[in-house]
Subunit: 581 residues, 2 copies
């Protein structure tokens, strides 16, 4: 490609609403252009990246035996009503009425449509397994779209859906997809981790997220550097406590802590480690009658160590809390504890509550908690002596760095990641809701065992940038760079020699199958270099009159701090050697 | 590709709502699957065709210097309000409100968005010309979607938009696109015509449709077999009448024609050629005051030869009718003619009307028209004698087969076509509406001269089928076939020799870059052949035990009536020789 025929458009300043670096750089590099909140035009420079992402995804999906189709963007509501998602999904689901006032949605995903295809087309176990995928426009009407392509409303997703005759088959399909995803992310040239994720109501271990590692990532991911263990924060199990509970050694003491309503404040005041304090979290569950009306409230007290954070997913698996819970209201708290939030604890309750202790709290002795009395805590609290042994003990907390790995093979480390892929075993959730069956080998109808597998195609470039940039701009991996090599001739309009050498090298690189751009715009060297450093083309060759007189050109990788002089006759081989994709 | 890994799904019967052969065959061949009225999933077999169409379009657009981008499917209404199209477009424009009750549309085309990009990005004449294109999902909420992909609601269109500094530049951009379209349609391997089309209010000749010739086409297209002349019916000019008006030879005679209200009936009753009769069409224009309120009605009488049909586009260019017209109401007709429709004519009017005669009518003598009296016509009518010479004479009619070509180089022929492409000079319509300017060489802002260029990517396969099918199914041109070659091994599960030969040929064809499918499903030969004839793969090779024992396989092109025996060692070369793309 020659720059004069292409669409190069760079900006010195990022727009005011661009909060993250990928949004700033993609806008400044002319890759995306905002049309509305969370809605972007993919400009030529950005679309080249997206097309390369798509091509890698498509190749590996095909290699893994998945078959491409394209489901409609605008989908009639009927199928969405079959699964209940038309009602259940919130305003994120963009609903439309057509000219005949019929309801439609813009697809955020396509489980309903693909399950409908399966129940019509896949009639026999002999046709299984099948995996259908699409690379298609999606829409989610985010309440607060932001961060450019990272959390847009309109986006492109690759979504694949597998159909199997039984769980063993589904597991094999899942594993094949997980392997394909590893190949895909390897080929992108990004640092990533595949981490175990929560699989929700379905249970089992068949849910993994593919996280691109970046300091700016929204997600905390947990891994063990000395073993294979990796999970997202929601999923990461904490290892059981190391030892048994020590014996009580302190008396129970009511201690004034005026104005100290947090564990950290109390620990500071008393001069004890935060890990000696226990925090009280008060939840509530509504008791419903058969008609679904609230007929009563049950209040729960969760006890966690002061230095630990609650993990909502883990809490949602505690028996009794697994049908939904909420934080208790202040009146509910006052009714049961006789105190306002800030000084709550499990002793001297006004009305009974259900107590669930985190596993670490259950093995603590001589701990500190709120006294259910404004401005007071109790120190020296001990299970069995000051209050009964906990009714329920569970893993309720987020892991922290330094926790032992659940596989016992090291300590956990935490880093930030951006989720760009997810593989998920669905079981029969959708096939049962839509009564999607096939005839089994035994002649009886059976529900499909399904899996779903997504990659955020337009999110991926943003994640790549969060991971790979410097103060001058983007640094693309070769595989998804808009152009792999840029040729920057200096004074091409003045020097016939520079022009001829640039055109020759351009043709040679093209002939070698290299995605090369020749910058023939006639920009000054400084502006030209700044443009391509901002855009992030990984390999640059500069041709100048002076250099060519000495038989030399300059090569510089985007990560190099300075240029390397290379013989003009050797540059083709030199560049080709440096390409990684 | 091996069939067992792919998604082959054929039907014996077409769905009841499939009225046209392409809809029937695409459904039966498992290429599309209806999700709702005018909304289809592109199934794997159909998507392969669409992807090949896209690839050819993309290659040629790039070659012509256009640059690919992707504009959003969901577009905020603001830009659409700038051009007035948000209000002006009827219910075909699908309107949406998001969660904040802001208005959006789903793009039917993207003139507004691309013009907005241009006015922000293209600041100087130095950046021109530019041509941006996208291959993207579109939606038009057709009142009566039908004919499968031929007139769907959701579809894929390639739309390109050129920006130039002046009309000469715009004309050059237009011509480059028209040439690119010829290359594209040549490569598709379809019989097509590029025909002149009406360019609406803009005028000039810069509008051409690309019509795939098919007996079932919706459009009538006109061409001269002995010259280059080709136009659609709307546009095709009729040549001026051959000679001067003959002298009057008959007396004006009131003739009873009871119950004969059409020209054909009258000609039949009187035993004269239909071309001797004149039909009366009564139009009306509303006179508006400055506030746009109707303050009066003007009634028009159009006179056409009884064997000619009115051409609305031509009528809409008659001075006085060029701001819109409608058919007159019965009360308006009675008020001016004193008679009901069926016996109307230009003589003995109750109130004056504006008369416009088609050029052919203006040179008629002794003609027959309605008498403005129930059950009566007048014969022997003559201009200048029975009524004044016509106030206005114009080309008002559709051409008919046998008319002289307007270029004077032969006679016109009419055939049917399906419009799949359109190149159009837009002028400054959108750039003025949106005040999209660039700085000209003279330092002054100027409006972009624009063109737009569309190809119906998902309509093209349907048009290809309308042109290329037989009673057994589809016959794809090589370039856009879902697979170019299908290998049909007979008894592959029983015969090791057949299996080995089929696998070997499959690998050889793949290595030669041929898009080959090996049917390893184990179907019986009859069912297998029927499937691939329905699907329309152009080249078929059958491998059987018996044939291989004689060292032979069978080759058959989809258009061949029987198979040809080819030596097993020669088949690779034989097939490659027969490929056209």
């Amino acid at each position: 490609m020659k720059a004069s025929r292409f669409f190069v458009s760079t900006l010195k300043e990022a727009p005011a609403d661009a909060e993250v670096v990928s949004h700033q750089l993609m806008t400044r590099a002319g890759m995306i252009k905002k049309l509305g909140a969370g809605i972007y035009t993919y400009m030529p420079m950005g679309l080249r990246v997206i097309r390369k992402v798509e091509a890698i995804v498509r190749e590996e999906m095909n290699r893994a035996g998945a078959v491409e189709c394209a489901m409609p963007v605008v989908q009639p509501s009927e199928l969405w009503q079959e699964t209940g998602r038309f009602e259940k999904m919130g305003p994120e689901l963009l609903r439309i009425q057509d000219r005949h006032a019929r309801d439609f949605v813009i697809q955020p995903t396509s489980e309903e449509v693909v399950t409908d295809i399966a129940r019509q087309e896949l009639r026999s176990y002999k046709q299984l397994p099948k995996n259908l995928y699409q690379i298609q426009t999606k829409f989610r009407d985010e309440r607060r779209p932001r961060f450019g392509l990272m959390r847009g409303r309109e986006f492109t997703m690759k979504d694949a859906y597998s159909f199997d005759r039984d769980q063993a088959g589904a597991k094999a399909s899942y594993q094949a997809m997980a392997e394909a995803y590893r190949r895909i992310f390897d080929r992108f040239g990004l640092t990533y981790r595949a981490v175990a994720a929560d699989s929700g109501a379905i249970g089992g271990d068949l849910s993994e997220e593919f996280q691109v590692i970046a300091a700016t990532g929204e997600d905390a991911i947990v891994y063990c550097p000395t073993s294979d263990y990796a999970a997202n924060m929601e999923k990461a199990e904490s290892a059981p406590p190391a030892g048994p509970r020590p014996a009580a050694s302190q008396p129970r003491t009511l201690t004034p802590t005026p104005g100290k309503a947090t564990c950290a404040d109390v620990a500071g005041l008393l001069g004890v480690p935060l890990a000696r304090t226990v925090k009280s979290l008060v939840l509530a569950t509504d008791e419903l009658n058969e008609a679904g009306e609230a007929v009563g409230v049950r209040v729960w007290l969760l006890l966690l160590r002061g230095d630990h954070d609650m993990n909502e997913i883990k809490v949602s698996k505690v028996p009794g809390l697994d049908n939904g819970f909420r934080f208790a209201t202040v009146p509910e708290i006052e009714e049961h504890f006789g105190a306002k939030p800030g000084y709550l604890g499990p002793l001297d309750l006004k009305k009974p509550v259900r107590i669930v202790a985190d596993r670490e709290v259950a093995v603590m002795a001589d701990w500190i908690c709120g006294a259910n009395q404004e401005g007071h805590h109790i120190t020296g609290v001990n299970w069995g002596r000051d209050l009964p042994e906990p009714e329920a003990v569970a893993d309720l907390r987020n892991v922290v760095a330094g926790d032992p790995s659940p596989d016992g093979r090291g300590e956990l480390t935490i880093e930030r990641g951006i989720e760009v892929g997810h593989v998920f075993y669905l079981g029969t959730k959708y096939s049962k809701a839509m009564n999607a069956t096939f005839l089994g080998e035994d002649g009886k109808p059976a529900h499909f065992e399904m899996g779903c597998y997504g990659i955020g195609v337009t999110r991926l470039p943003a994640a790549a940038i969060e991971q790979n940039h410097d103060e001058r701009g983007i640094i693309w991996p070769d595989a998804i760079a808009p152009f792999t090599v840029v040729l920057c001739p200096i004074g091409m309009d003045r020097s016939q020699e520079v022009k001829a050498a640039a055109e020759k090298l351009y043709e040679e690189l093209l002939a070698a199958g290299v995605d090369v751009l020749l910058d023939d715009r006639g920009e000054r060297p400084g502006a030209m270099f700044a443009d391509w450093e901002l855009i992030g083309v990984p390999h640059r060759v500069v041709l100048s009159d002076r250099g060519l007189k000495e038989g030399q050109v300059e090569y510089q990788h985007r990560r190099d701090s300075s240029a390397t002089k290379v013989g003009a006759g050797d540059i083709l081989a030199y560049v080709k050697e440096r390409l990684t994709a």
